[in-house]
């Protein structure tokens, strides 16, 4: 080593190795807390974002809840009277432009029986041509005949369904209980941000749906799938001006993935901040233990400091010697902490989130170097006062101390 003050610090740490390691453990814990908590929060956010990003190109238009839709067809008890009307749909078509795809969606919940097992799920009524615009059939074919149906991936797994199986729709007490034939199974979609959550649902043709439930041309929602995500704000504005002519009483509610996401992500990031703060507190505890050890080191070496000062060592050099000591403790703690964070963080993320596929992404893994840097910084800050105290001792008094 070139710098004798660094040598002196290393030797001092080595001389009190046990004490130094114990002090560094505080830093290790702090670094692990900050990095694994940070990574946990970030992985959580990344996963939720990813799950919701299906449908990022979609604007969802629903009837505003306060405004009642046109009355008339209310043949089924479970169908809602509010919805997007045919006129509104045409206006949306005009406003959205030719490049956008429109998907009018009927939906309700229903009871069903599957090989004598009763169940309950969402039923979506879609034009078969619209289905392939945004859904993927992983198995089988699209709806062709009037009694054909598709089911979601989870639904299929839960009931161990095969193509060709039949579902009886409605309650046992119902007089007419139509039977649907499963022609295809959809790919898993996760929690989708376009409000069409097919994983646990049954998808039927729009014709079958309106036959069964009525409410023709009154849609639960209309999804507008834009070609270019960047045009979403413009399309939203266009739809808004066309449909919500009375701004005090808007006819429809227009939302996109980002506005639906922002609520979730902001609450997730406040959770992240909160758990990071817990990590921060543990570093504060670490800071006091480092400060304590540094003060012990200074107090034990008063005479040595006196010798150094009396034979012409500059104050800055004495300060440097003690700051090196703090840095050594910091590097010791931060590197052990960094390695532990990798292991512990990985385990925590895989246990709590169930996947480590986001773990090594920069926005997640960066918490390790960040935690290490904060740990090191905490050490240096804790060493400042002890170092200052050492360098400002009176050499005569210091020499005389035993």
């Amino acid at each position: 080593m070139k710098d004798i003050f660094f040598d002196l610090s290393v030797r001092s740490v080595r001389l009190n190795l046990m004490r130094s390691i114990l002090a560094s453990i505080g830093i290790v814990i702090g670094v692990v807390a900050i990095s694994s908590m940070g990574m946990l929060g970030t992985n959580m956010q990344l996963q939720v974002k990813d799950q919701l990003s299906a449908g990022a190109d979609t604007i969802v238009i629903t009837a505003d809840a306060v405004r009642m839709g046109p009355t008339g067809s209310s043949s089924s008890s479970s169908s809602s009277a509010t919805g997007i009307t045919k006129t509104q749909l045409n206006k949306i078509k005009l406003a959205a432009g030719l490049t956008s795809k429109l998907v009018p969606v009927y939906s309700t919940t229903t009871q069903f029986t599957l090989a004598s097992t009763p169940g309950r799920s969402t039923v979506y009524g879609l034009n078969p041509d619209d289905i392939t615009k945004f859904l993927t059939i992983s198995n089988g074919t699209n709806i062709g005949g009037i009694n054909d149906a598709l089911v979601g991936a989870t639904f299929a797994t839960n009931f161990d369904l095969k193509i060709g199986n039949r579902i009886r729709i409605g309650q046992d007490t119902d007089t007419s209980r139509p039977v649907l034939r499963i022609v295809g199974i959809l790919a898993a979609r996760g929690m989708s941000s376009d409000n069409v959550n097919t994983d646990n649902a049954i998808i039927v043709s729009d014709d079958w749906y309106t036959n069964q439930y009525g409410g023709k041309d009154i849609y639960k929602q209309v999804n507008v799938i834009v070609k270019d995500i960047n045009t979403i704000p413009d399309v939203k504005t266009a739809i808004d001006t066309k449909l919500n002519t009375d701004q005090k009483k808007p006819a429809v509610r227009i939302s996109d993935a980002s506005s639906r996401l922002s609520g979730i992500t902001s609450s997730l990031s406040s959770i992240t901040t909160f758990i990071l703060a817990i990590g921060g507190i543990s570093l504060l505890v670490a800071a006091t233990s480092i400060f304590n050890v540094m003060m012990m080191s200074v107090n034990e070496r008063i005479q040595e400091i006196g010798i150094l000062l009396s034979i012409g060592t500059e104050k800055g050099e004495v300060r440097r010697m003690f700051l090196y000591e703090a840095v050594i403790l910091g590097i010791l703690g931060a590197s052990i902490g960094g390695i532990s964070s990798l292991i512990i963080g990985y385990s925590v993320v895989s246990y709590m989130i169930g996947t480590t596929k986001y773990f090594f992404l920069p926005e997640s893994i960066m918490y390790i170097p960040m935690g290490m840097a904060i740990g090191l910084l905490v050490c240096i800050l804790s060493g400042l006062y002890p170092a200052w105290k050492a360098s400002n001792m009176d050499p005569i008094d210091a020499l005389r101390s035993e």
Partner: protein, 225 residues
């Protein structure tokens, strides 16, 4: 000032402010010390010998009066300049040796060179200095705790001399040594004096004082003789 002496005490007092009142450890001292003098300072315990040495070593500044060392008023220079004078102009040898415990004998001697040149020594000066006080390479690798008192004091002398200071201050350098070792140390100091150093030594031992050209006796902070 024509023909400025190397060291000049001009009416120097050192007063300690204690809870029990002020205590005058040095009482209006005026004294000139010329280049290459060998001076012994004697006096009873508590008479102010160490206080005077601390003034000479610029570890402290006078409460009143002026102290000139190499023509510079030590109270009027910055703290950093005082530090540099301690490093370059003065060699200090203590009764308790005061070697740096974490450094080997060699590193202790090398240390003032590092302070001065801000790098490890490549000139071989430290080795030469240790050789001059009878240290070979193997012994030079020892830590202070592994050395006898006489050996430690030799290292301390080598350390004090390595930056070639004009003034060598020795506060009871033989106080912790047996008589025989003490005289060996005195022989080294005599040799240094004849090489041109100004040597100032505090001692209780009249036999040691005999080595000096001039003896100054302190009593209650004043020069008695």
């Amino acid at each position: 000032m024509i023909n400025t002496p190397l060291i000049r005490f001009a009416d120097v007092s050192k007063v300690y402010h204690l809870e029990s009142g002020d205590f005058t450890a040095l009482d209006h001292i005026s004294l000139d010390i010329q280049d290459n003098e060998f001076i012994a300072i004697m006096g009873p315990s508590g008479s102010g010998k160490s206080t005077m040495m601390n003034q000479l070593g610029i570890l402290d500044v006078p409460t009143s009066g002026e102290l000139f060392i190499s023509g510079r008023d030590v109270a009027k220079i910055t703290a950093l300049e005082r530090t540099h004078m301690r490093r370059d102009t003065i060699g200090y040898i203590f009764q308790n040796f005061y070697l740096i415990p974490l450094l080997s004998a060699y590193e202790n001697v090398e240390y003032p060179l590092i302070l001065k040149y801000k790098k490890r020594d490549e000139s071989g000066k430290a080795t030469a200095m240790l050789k001059a006080v009878g240290f070979d390479e193997a012994l030079s690798a020892h830590r202070p705790t592994q050395l006898s008192g006489g050996q430690q004091q030799r290292v301390a002398i080598a350390r004090a001399l390595v930056n070639d200071p004009k003034i060598l201050l020795c506060d009871e350098p033989t106080g912790n040594l047996d008589r025989k070792t003490g005289f060996q140390i005195m022989d080294i100091l005599c040799g240094l004096h004849s090489e041109g150093k100004t040597v100032i030594i505090v001692t209780h031992d009249p036999k040691i004082a005999e080595y000096a050209d001039r003896t100054i006796t302190l009593e209650d902070g004043r020069i008695a003789a």
